[in-house]
């Protein structure tokens, strides 16, 4: 880690002269770093089968992991440096008013089926992403104040993106938009069937991308096999065309523990998303593998209380509880009573950090240094509760119970994901922390689909403990969480109007930073937003785990990053030191 990837260009004549010429000289991107050896197959495990191979509709992490290996974007965020670097576009220019982005495509690019790429594919791609009928989940990112971004072709290699408003994120916004093959998708798109494409059983010759690998074989319930894309546009420092690997195999291994066992037995070559406990099990004997703590990631865990607007269907006891939850002093009291250090120590075995705001230590640039980090204090918490009109009664058995101004005992339940042992453990610690305030809290582990259904649809729950992993260090990646209209605005999702003045202020600050051009200005606005969140505690931030990964010693160029995909971000550079061994497996 810490290896900065600098980029070298093979200079080529600007391809303006013959726009119709299809066989331009190939302009490779040359990657520095260790030169590996070709061949072999790399096996990794996925928690579940990807739902789709179609970048237009993919939302789950497994799909995105596979899609990431098969597709490429115009400008890419280097997961190690967290900075942008050229990808399909070899260069870009931003006009002085910040409204025009001129991108020049690399020459000689070909899709993985050998078909050449030109600007029309890019135009097609964004037309589809912007089409409301396609329901691409990322679509909102291309809409600025209700107006969409527009594209204009200059010549066969040059394209202009016209923004309705200056956009603070700059060229980072091009990351993650997989460029699609027009020659394969145009017809289904016009027939309105593009959303049904990309099932796992798609024939390999019907699917193409610009990523390092292409589809080879799918065995239902077992594995998805990708093979080397022979037309890939990157080379190593010696000019060998990447990727090194012949095959990339995704095994479907349903549980975290089963993944550990497969890795331990050498069936898989890489492992990520490890819990601290499994990481320490694997670290104990490191004969065949190397375990790497990549440091604090972008995942944040938090407790949130149900602040939804009461509807007709809201049960009476939830209304009662919401009276407590709406009191900001109550939320502050809960926050200050939580022993975050214990969470880091007991849940993450020290491989994580306590959190007081939404920006994790993994995201150095955006952290608000002014945010207070008060130590746990039950006295402070009791004082806040007293101010809010709560008091205590002592039962005959010596247990003191917190009661509100109408003498109702404070009792509520916290739902959390049953599949995630870290979350349930965290919740059990909070339960014990709050017991010391006289609150009776129950932990209810739920299966993740019914949990999300409760939080975003029926909204019948008291409180929840969940985690979110941002996909980029830029704040805009969590737009869905912070805007009051967002679907993941968990404490009160998808509002038509901000329910409270402070949520309106967060909306304003978030939108303002989005359209502000300099980092310093944006940071100032974002800091303000973090402070409002701190004051009002709609989400009580708990802790952020380190990104824990491992690889077999035979895997070269293994440099895990704290941005997703943690271990596969440089999959084109990964190689097997002893290809013969892996071939015989």
């Amino acid at each position: 880690m810490g290896l900065l990837v600098a980029l070298v260009w093979i200079l080529a004549r600007p391809p303006v002269a013959f726009p119709e010429q299809k066989s331009l000289k190939e302009e490779f991107q040359v990657l520095p770093g260790e030169v590996g050896r070709s061949g072999g197959r790399l096996v990794v495990s996925l928690r579940a089968e990807p739902k789709t191979l179609n970048p237009l509709i993919a939302t789950d992490a497994n799909s995105n992991e596979v899609i990431g290996a098969m597709h490429a974007d115009l400008v890419h965020i280097n997961r190690a440096t967290q900075l942008t670097e050229p990808a399909l576009a070899k260069s870009w220019k931003i006009s002085r008013d910040g409204l025009q982005y001129t991108l020049v495509l690399r020459g000689g690019l070909k899709f993985s089926d050998g078909y050449p790429l030109d600007v029309d594919d890019v135009l097609f791609t964004f037309r589809v992403y912007l089409d409301e009928r396609v329901h691409a989940p990322q679509r909102d990112l291309l809409i600025f104040d209700g107006k969409p971004i527009t594209l204009r072709k200059v010549d066969s290699q040059t394209i202009v993106f016209q923004l309705p408003k200056p956009y603070g994120v700059g060229e980072r916004m091009f990351d993650g938009w997989a460029i699609l093959p027009k020659h394969l998708l145009e017809k289904p798109y016009e027939e309105g069937k593009i959303g049904q494409l990309g099932t796992l059983s798609t024939a390999a010759n019907q699917w193409a991308g610009l990523g390092p690998f292409r589809l080879k074989e799918y065995v239902a319930g077992q594995r998805l096999v990708l093979e080397r894309n022979p037309y890939y546009w990157k080379t190593d420092a010696k000019g060998n065309r990447l990727p090194y690997l012949d095959e990339l195999v995704f095994l479907f291994v349903p549980s975290a523990d089963a993944q550990v066992l497969r890795f331990q037995s050498g069936e898989t070559d890489l492992i990520s998303r490890l819990s601290a406990e499994n990481f320490s099990v694997l670290s104990r004997e490191q004969n065949n593998h190397r375990m790497v703590d990549a440091g604090p990631g972008l995942e944040y865990h938090f407790l949130f209380l149900n602040l939804n607007d009461p509807g007709e269907k809201t049960p009476a006891d939830l209304l009662q509880k919401q009276k407590w939850f709406r009191d900001v002093k109550f939320r502050q009291a809960v926050s200050v009573a939580i022993d975050r250090e214990a969470i880091v120590r007991l849940v993450y075995q020290g491989r994580g950090s306590a959190l007081w705001g939404l920006v994790t230590p993994g995201d150095r640039r955006w952290r608000d240094e002014k945010l207070p980090h008060p130590a746990r204090s039950l006295e402070r918490s009791r004082a806040l509760l007293k101010e809010a009109g709560f008091s205590w009664t002592t039962a005959s058995n010596g247990e003191s119970t917190l009661i509100d101004s109408t003498s109702k005992p404070v009792e509520f339940s916290i739902i959390t994901k049953s599949s995630n042992a870290d979350l349930t453990k965290m919740t059990a610690l909070i339960q014990d922390d709050l017991k010391q305030l006289g609150m009776r809290v129950q932990v209810v582990p739920l299966e993740s689909r019914s949990l999300l259904d409760r939080v975003t649809q029926t909204r019948e729950y008291d409180a929840g403990v969940l985690g979110i992993a941002s996909f980029d260090a830029d704040p805009n990646s969590d737009i869905n969480v912070w805007l009051s209209s967002g679907g993941l605005h968990l404490w009160n999702p998808s509002q038509t109007h901000p329910a409270t003045p402070w949520e309106a202020e967060i909306d304003r600050l978030f939108n303002a930073q989005m359209y502000t051009r300099t980092f310093e200005e944006r940071k100032k606005l974002y800091d303000q937003m973090q402070e409002i969140l701190w004051d009002h505690q709609p989400m009580i931030f708990l802790a952020s785990p380190d990104i824990l990964t491992g690889a077999r010693k035979a895997v070269g160029n293994f440099h895990p990053a704290v941005l997703e995909p943690y271990v596969l971000w440089n999959v084109e550079q990964l190689y097997l030191r002893n290809a013969a061994v892996s071939a015989s497996r």
Binding site: D257, V260, L261, S275, E277, N278, S280, V281, D339, A342, R345, L346, Q349, G350, N397, G398, F412, S413, I415, S418, A421, K425, A428, L429, Q431, D432, Q442, V443, V444, P445, E460, Y461, D462
Partner: protein, 340 residues
């Protein structure tokens, strides 16, 4: 000889149950109290001889500390010996649920000691085992009681009256035998409110287990009643004009008592196991209340399975309870066959 074995079995079982019932006294700590500085502490070894070879009449343990450069491996700190104190004052509890007390069988001054190690929250495993036994054994006894009561009633009715009542009740019994009770419980749980208090969860489990399990003892009782009905002394009593209720009470059901006792001895451990299965699956008594199933459920995690051997100990400690019950069952059935 056999009788003696049954008696000694009884004594062992009663002693074990007494320890569990008086968990507050025998357990050194509150089972839900977290000692966050000491998660996954291995069991402390009891010593009589210190590292200089001196013998001490009072047993002691050494404080555990993290091994240099490790975050989960402990070693004994020979400089800090903690002598075991007996009959110490400690946390308050209520014996049998109503006698307030703060006396504990043993403990150590100013320090917590872990004879069976601690779990992921630093809770004392020994205390959790003892208190957990209250939940699990009570679930077993109550569940077996409900089952036998229902089984006796249904079996006696079916066997004694026969005819269509017999057919109806026995078909019903077969239906219950075929019922997948685990799914039944899952379905029941889905109908209940989100958060169920530990007490509610406990009674739900027992009610379901008891209600579903009556079919087997009912068939046994029916068989006994059927054969007893044909005995000469029963026929004679009937000839003298005894009513059905009198016959059942006075002549027939006493015949079934030894069968029931044997059944009880077999059913109790079965129900304890059922409670453990449910808690293991997260359907049982919710955390932080301990039960034997909850104690073992952490073993679902691979990391716990391979790293912390003392988390298996509860499984081992359940064995004497089960042997006691099963030995009792075996003893009962052999005395029964001898008296016949």
């Amino acid at each position: 000889m056999k009788g003696k074995r049954v008696i000694s079995n009884w004594i062992v079982l009663l002693a074990l149950h007494a320890i569990v019932i008086l968990a507050g006294f025998f357990a050194p700590y509150d089972p839900t109290e977290q000692d966050r500085k000491n998660p996954y502490l291995p069991p402390m070894r009891i010593h009589f001889v210190d590292d200089q070879g001196h013998f001490h009449a009072r047993p002691f343990v050494y404080e555990l500390q993290l091994r240099e450069g490790s975050y989960d491996q402990y070693q004994e700190n020979a400089a800090r010996a903690l002598p075991l104190q007996f009959f110490v004052q400690g946390e308050h509890y209520r014996l049998l649920g109503f006698v307030p007390s703060h006396w504990h069988l043993f403990g150590a001054k100013n320090e917590r000691i872990y004879l069976l190690g601690s779990d992921s929250y630093g809770r004392d495993q020994l205390s959790r085992f003892l208190y957990g036994g209250q939940v699990s054994l009570f679930a077993g006894l109550l569940g077996a009681g409900i089952t036998l009561f229902l089984g006796l009633g249904v079996g006696a009715l079916a066997g004694f009256y026969g005819g269509w009542r017999d057919d109806l009740l026995m078909r019903l019994a077969e239906f219950f035998l075929a019922l997948p009770w685990l799914y039944l419980l899952l379905a029941l749980r889905a109908f209940l409110p989100l958060a169920v208090s530990p007490l509610q969860a406990f009674f739900l489990i027992i009610a379901v287990l008891g209600a579903v399990g009556w079919a087997r003892p009912a068939r046994l009782v029916r068989g006994v009643v059927l054969s007893a009905k044909q005995r000469d002394f029963v026929r004679a009593a009937r000839g003298f004009g005894a009513t059905g209720g009198y016959l059942l009470r006075r002549h027939i059901l006493p015949e079934a008592s030894s069968v029931l006792l044997t059944q009880a001895a077999i059913l109790v451990p079965q129900f304890v196991l059922a409670e453990m299965t449910l808690s293991f699956l997260g359907l049982g008594v919710p955390e932080p209340v301990p039960s034997w199933g909850n104690l073992l459920s952490s073993l679902q995690q691979y990391s716990v399975l391979v790293s912390y051997w003392w988390m298996y100990l509860p499984a081992l400690m359940i064995v004497p309870f089960f042997l006691g019950y099963l030995g009792l069952g075996a003893g009962c059935s052999s005395t029964e066959s001898r008296t016949r």
